[in-house]
Amino acid sequence: MTNRLFGSFARYLALGFFVAIVAYPLLLIVSTSVKDPLDVTANPFTLFSSVSLQNFVDAWTLGGFGGYFWNTVLITTLTLVGTVVLSVLAGYALARLYLPGKNIIFLLFILGLMIPFFAMMIPLFYELKAMNLLGTHAAVILPALAGATGFGVPLGVFLMRAFYMDLPEELADAARVDGAGEFQVFWRIMLPLSGPGVAVLAVLVFFQTWNVFILPLLYLPGSENQMLATGLYLFASGRTAEIELAAAGSLIMVLPVVIFFLIFQRQFIRGLTAGAFK
C-alpha cells in the first residue's frame, strides 16, 4: 500500500533530509569512538577517517567506564527487582484484596507520580546523609524505588493494579471454592499470570534507571560507585582532549539499551504508551 500523502519525489527528499539530521549525530559518536587518538587531534569530527578499537579498551580501564558499567548494572538490577516485587505485591493487594481505605492509599501513590523529583531533591540529600548512605549504592536505589526517577513503586503500583484488575476473577474464585487460602490464590494463580504486566514495568524501570543522571550526581559525590551517565559527564566535562574515550564510553553506555530495545521492542512500546498515561 503506497501512501500518496506526498508525491514520491518530495517524500524521498524529505525523508532523506530527516535521515541525515537524525543519523549524523549517531554516526558522529560511532566515528569518534573508533578514531585513532592522533587522528582526533587533527580531524576530530571527520567521519570515519580511521578505525581502531583500542579506545573501548582504554575507556573501560583508564577512563573508568568499566567500573561505571558494573555499578550501573548492580544498581539497575536491584532497583528493577525491588520495584517489580514491591509493585506486584502492592498492586495485587490494591486490585484484588479487601482493605478499607485502600483507595486512599492508591490515591497517595498516584500523587507521587505527579510530583517532580526536585520537590524531594534537597531534603533527600540530608536524609541520606544522616543515614550515612551518601556515596553508597543504596543512595540511588532507595530513592529510585520510591519513585525519584518517575519509574519506581508509584508507577509500578499504578500499572500492576490496572493489570490485575483486568484479570478475570473466575480462576481465583474457583480456587477459593476448592479451599485455597488467599496466599495460595496469589502465589499459585495470580502470580504466574503476571508476566505481561511485569514485562512492561521491567522495561520501563530498566530504561530509566540505566540512564539516570541527576540521582547519582547528587547522592554519589565523586566517581566512587558512580553510574554511567554521571560518570560520562564527569569524564567529559571540561575535557577537550581524549574525546575518543568519551565517545567510546558513550557507546559502552548506550549499546546495552539499544540491544535491549531491539529485542523487547513490543514491550518497550507498550510500556511507553502505558507509562505515559500517568
Binding site: 535521515v19 510530583i115 524531594m120 513503586v153 485455597a180 495460595q184 560520562l232 574525546i243
Partner: protein, 316 residues
C-alpha cells in the same frame, strides 16, 4: 490444582463454608485484609520514607532560611517567596522554562508527526526508518548533550564548517558560548532527542487510521496538507494529545541536557528553574531558598498537568 490434596495448614487457613454467607464473607475479608496490609506495607514504607517525607520537608524548608549545616532552622515565613519575585535570575530561569515548554513541546511533536507521516506507507525500508528515527530517544540525554557539543564546536563542529563552506562565515559562532543562542542550541539538541519518542507513538497510532477515508478524500481532490489536517490528524488525536502532554509536563523539570551542555551558562543565559534550584541548594548552600524554588517547579508542573488532563477529558 493441588488444593484438593493440599496440606492441613491450607485446609485450616481456608474460610469455612459451613456457616452462612456473612460468616464466610467476614472470615475471607479478614484473611484478605491481613495479606493486603502485608503486601502493601513494604512498598508504602519505601515510598513514605523516601518520597513523601522529603516532599513535606521541602515545603517546610521553603519557609526557613536554612543553609544546610546550621543546627537550627529559622522560620522566615514567606520571605523566600517574596525574594523569588524580585530575583532577576529566577525570572530569567522562568522565562527560559516557558520558552522551553512552548518550543520544546511543539517542535518534537511536529517533527515526530512529520516523520511518522513520511514513513507511514509501510513500504520498503519501513523497519529501517522506524529504528533510525526512534534511536535518538534511546540515547541518554548526557550522550545527546555531548555529541551536540561536538556539533556546535566553534572550530571543528559540522555546523560552522558547513556555514563556512557555503560562504556564510558571518553566521559562524560559538553557539553554546553566545548568550543569545545558548538556550536555543541546547533546545535543538533536546528536540532532536525527544522527537524520537513522538515519532514512535505517532507512527504506531497511524497504523490504525482508516485508509478508505484518506483515499476518498484523494478522489475528492484534497492536497496533502488537507488530507493530513482534516482526515488523518483527527483520527490520531488521542495519541497526539498524549504525546503533547507528556512532552509538555517535562518542560518545567528539564535539567540533564542543559546542565551537561552549558551548565546553564554563559552567565545565566540558559538557566532554567531546575539548574537554578540545584545551584542555590547545593552550591550556594541556601537550602531554604532552593526549597522555595523547588516548590515553584512543583506547582508549575502540577498546574500544567491538571490543565492538560482537563483538556483531554473534554475531548472525550
Amino acid at each position: 490444582m493441588q488444593t484438593r490434596t493440599g496440606d492441613d495448614a491450607t485446609r485450616a487457613a481456608a474460610p469455612r463454608q459451613k456457616q452462612g454467607a456473612t460468616g464466610h464473607e467476614s472470615a475471607l475479608r479478614r484473611q484478605q485484609m491481613k495479606y493486603a496490609i502485608l503486601f502493601i506495607a513494604p512498598g508504602l514504607a519505601v515510598y513514605l520514607v523516601f518520597m513523601v517525607y522529603p516532599f513535606l520537608n521541602t515545603a517546610y524548608l521553603s519557609l526557613t532560611n536554612w543553609n544546610g549545616v546550621a543546627e537550627t532552622k529559622d522560620f522566615v515565613g514567606l520571605a523566600n517567596y517574596t525574594r523569588m519575585l524580585g530575583d532577576g535570575i529566577a525570572w530569567k530561569a522562568f522565562s527560559n522554562n516557558v520558552i522551553w515548554v512552548i518550543l520544546g513541546t511543539v517542535a518534537p511533536v511536529a517533527v515526530g508527526l512529520f516523520e511518522a507521516l513520511l514513513v507511514w506507507s509501510g513500504a520498503r525500508g519501513s523497519l529501517f526508518f522506524r529504528t533510525l528515527f526512534f534511536l535518538p530517544f534511546v540515547l541518554p540525554l548526557v550522550v545527546v548533550g555531548i555529541v551536540w557539543q561536538w556539533i556546535y564546536n566553534p572550530l571543528f563542529g559540522v555546523i560552522n564548517e558547513v556555514l563556512d563552506s557555503v560562504g556564510l562565515e558571518g553566521l559562524s559562532r560559538g553557539w553554546l558560548a553566545d548568550p543569545h543562542t545558548a538556550l536555543y542550541a541546547v533546545l535543538i539538541a533536546a528536540i532532536w532527542g525527544a522527537s524520537g519518542f513522538c515519532f514512535l507513538i505517532l507512527h504506531a497510532s497511524l497504523q490504525n487510521v482508516d485508509m478508505s477515508t484518506v483515499e476518498a478524500s484523494m478522489i475528492d481532490g484534497a492536497n496533502w496538507f488537507q488530507r493530513a489536517w482534516r482526515i488523518i490528524i483527527p483520527q490520531i488525536a488521542p495519541q497526539l494529545t498524549m504525546v503533547t502532554t507528556v512532552t509538555l509536563i517535562g518542560g518545567f523539570s528539564v535539567f540533564d541536557i542543559v546542565f551537561v551542555m552549558t551548565g546553564a551558562g554563559p552567565g545565566h543565559a540558559s538557566e532554567v528553574l531546575s539548574t537554578y534550584t540545584y545551584k542555590t541548594a547545593f552550591q550556594q548552600n541556601e537550602a531554604g531558598y532552593g526549597s522555595a524554588l523547588a516548590m515553584l517547579i512543583t506547582v508549575l508542573s502540577l498546574v500544567s498537568t491538571v490543565i492538560f488532563v482537563r483538556l483531554r477529558e473534554r475531548q472525550r
